[in-house]
């Protein structure tokens, strides 16, 4: 996993609440046994019509958002299925950061395991960012160490993150490798059962 310390990028706003993982990656794409290549299927039925043509009215297809790396959405982002294919698709499409007022627990966890930072800020702050990104080419900078998001016009908001995912993301650690160093504790627990 790549360490994530700071990131600057273009914002893509998706002003909808309760975006479920079936929308992020529809089930017909869950049959692959690889971990890569899911970006092409991100928001598939919103991006493409039944014939597989791009839907020009869906904002992610707007060329002005090409290269966006910060996804901003409404509350309860990533609800529903536990499929990790959802963050794999988000990441493979090019997003490194998600910003929303709230997340489904499993999705949030899955993001961190893959080096994506899910930032939680207030609904008002999300709406501000969405309005800016809808009206102009809007760049944000994220500083994970100092837990702030800011633009170059004076907007700045700090966010909370619990220490453990923060340190995992900053260092890009392999969690299993870390846990295996606790082998004696695990073995001891098993003996005590």
């Amino acid at each position: 996993m790549e360490p994530l310390k700071t990131h600057q990028g273009l914002v893509y706003p998706l002003n909808r609440s309760n975006i479920d993982t079936d929308q992020i990656i529809p089930k017909q794409f869950l049959k692959r046994i690889e971990r890569s290549g899911f970006g092409q299927f991100l928001f598939y039925h919103w991006r493409f019509d039944d014939e597989g043509n791009l839907r020009p009215d869906f904002s992610l297809n707007n060329p002005k958002y090409q290269g966006a790396s910060i996804l901003v959405a409404g509350e309860n982002f990533g609800c529903g299925s536990s499929r990790e294919h959802a963050p794999w698709a988000v990441q493979d499409f090019g997003f490194k950061i998600v910003i929303a007022p709230s997340y489904a627990d499993i999705f949030k966890n899955n993001c961190v395991k893959n080096g994506i930072l899910p930032i939680q800020v207030s609904d008002e702050q999300v709406q501000y960012i969405i309005r800016k990104a809808e009206s102009e080419e809007y760049q944000l900078t994220v500083d994970l160490e100092n837990q702030v998001v800011y633009d170059n016009e004076g907007f700045k908001v700090s966010f909370d993150i619990v220490p453990y995912p923060k340190v995992m993301l900053l260092n890009g650690w392999d969690e299993i490798g870390v846990t295996l160093t606790y082998e004696d504790k695990i073995a001891e627990y098993e003996l005590s059962k």
Partner: protein
């Protein structure tokens, strides 16, 4: 004196392997259920790092999502086939027990765990599937995980988890006649919203919960995730112990009685508190039908589809509008006037023997509307056999239903059972998200009884009136 604890806190504390400052708890996992869709990348991760499955004896695999329900051994889609074959190879390589499609124990992972007695009170249970919350019906702490966590559990039999907040969902009084566990859980999500459980583990309590059978409890706990809670559980009681007694993987004889004594001690202590408590009156719950594109968008069968202009929050207004448009419904129309094209009775929510019995009672001696295609998909091979032994298959096929093989099937349409674009399905499953049952498909979540009644009528009807009419005759 000890601080009084609730059941969630008790199970948690028994499973903490290690605690240290600045980290979540390292939690031991007693049972890891595995299926074909969310495991291939996890096994591949082990292989790439030269790691083993730490406790194959605590790991149990099945295949359910891709399994065909017409001819279960004929998998036409080569990518589905590959996923099924991959699980077979992985289980062989890593020494994991597998109930493959030929195996008599095969079925939906959340149906077979309880059937085999793998699911037990007080256990920590995980699976790469959000409906793992189902197993909470037995008083276990059971939650869905992603593929990275699947790999983590395979390698270490543990997970780093922050202790959850606890939420008591109190269901007072008794459910009315013709009102099911499915209606109850839909009504709870409808009342409190699709994210009121986020960050919590829920415990369902109250008179109405205590009087539910194990299969009904599984229906309730199954949909905890639709309220945002990774896990929802019910304190085990005599109903639980009677269900488990004699099942293959539970302790037998005297050891069972010892286990029961331990399980009884899990009950929430008097005076224990929760981070949050919500209450609902069971008597006020009516049969539910979802009208929109998430499970919280549900109304009683007697009600009308909501009008976006009558809601106060502007964000909600847009959501309702978009949902009505997707669902092809008019604001204010009675939900009972909505005509359906498909009926699906199945899924980890409602595919157990009692679900099939209830639905069969509604359709016995009647015919499915000529405009409706209706299928019944039992939750497991063993449910299918038990139902056939009682002649339920005959009741359904005489009425015009198709009687299928076991699997997840049309709940998420990863196999060939797909609702075509624009068509409408009364479904006993758990999610009415856009495209869930097929691209452009319109899903209405209901109980098995309501689905059966809708199959006969061709539109939604109040099953309480159907049953009343049956009794008069």
């Amino acid at each position: 004196m000890h601080t009084p604890k609730n059941i969630i806190q008790k199970i948690w504390e028994k499973h903490v392997v290690h605690q240290e400052e600045g980290k979540p708890d390292l939690l031991y996992i007693d049972l890891h259920l595995v299926h074909e869709v969310t495991s291939p990348q996890a096994f591949e991760g082990l292989r790439m790092n030269g790691r083993k499955v730490r406790r194959p004896d605590l790991t149990y695999a099945t295949m359910d999502h891709n399994v065909p329900t017409r001819q279960r051994l004929v998998i036409n889609d080569p990518i589905s086939k590959k996923q099924i074959d991959t699980l077979q190879e992985n289980c062989q390589e890593f020494g994991v027990t597998l109930a493959d499609i030929h195996h008599p124990d095969n079925g939906i992972v959340h149906v077979i765990g309880p059937e085999l007695g793998l699911t037990q009170p007080g256990k920590t249970i995980v699976c790469g599937d959000s409906h793992t919350s189902t197993h909470g019906a037995f008083g276990s702490l059971a939650f869905g995980i992603g593929t990275s966590e699947v790999e983590h559990v395979l390698a270490t039999q543990t997970l780093w988890q922050a202790p959850p907040k606890t939420l008591n969902v109190k269901v007072n009084g008794k459910l009315g006649t013709g009102v099911t566990a499915k209606d109850l859980i839909l009504a709870i999500i409808g009342k409190f919203g699709v994210q009121f459980g986020t960050g919590y583990v829920m415990e369902y309590t109250g008179e109405a919960i205590r009087s539910l059978s194990m299969e009904e409890r599984m229906t309730v706990c199954n949909m905890s995730i639709e309220a945002g809670a990774r896990a929802g559980l019910i304190t085990p009681d005599e109903t639980t112990f009677e269900y488990l007694r004699g099942r293959r993987h539970v302790p037998q004889g005297e050891a069972f009685e010892e286990a029961v004594a331990e399980w009884k001690a899990l009950a929430t202590d008097e005076g224990a508190s929760y981070d949050r408590v919500v209450e609902i009156e069971a008597a006020e719950v009516e049969p539910q039908v979802t009208w929109g594109t998430n499970p919280g968008m549900c109304i009683p069968i007697t009600a009308n589809v909501p009008n976006p202009d009558e809601t106060e929050k502007p964000s909600e207004k847009d959501e309702i509008k978009r949902a009505l448009e997707y669902m092809g419904l008019e604001a204010g129309q009675p939900i009972s006037s909505v005509k359906i094209d498909h009926v699906f009775i199945g899924s980890c929510t409602n595919s157990r023997l009692s679900d099939l019995r209830s639905a069969a009672e509604v359709v016995r001696g009647k015919k499915v509307s000529p405009t409706v295609t209706a299928i019944v998909v039992p939750g497991s091979f063993s449910v299918k056999l038990a139902a056939e032994k009682e002649g339920l298959d005959k009741v359904f096929t005489d009425a015009g239903f198709e009687w299928r093989e076991a699997g997840c099937s049309m709940c998420l349409a990863m196999n060939d059972d797909i609702v075509p674009p624009g068509e409408r399905c009364a479904s006993t499953s758990n999610r009415n998200f856009e495209g869930r049952q097929g691209n452009g498909a319109r899903t209405h979540l209901v109980s098995p009884e309501m689905a059966a009644a809708a199959a006969v009528a061709g539109h939604f009807v109040d099953v309480r009136q159907v049953s009343a009419a049956q009794e008069v005759r």
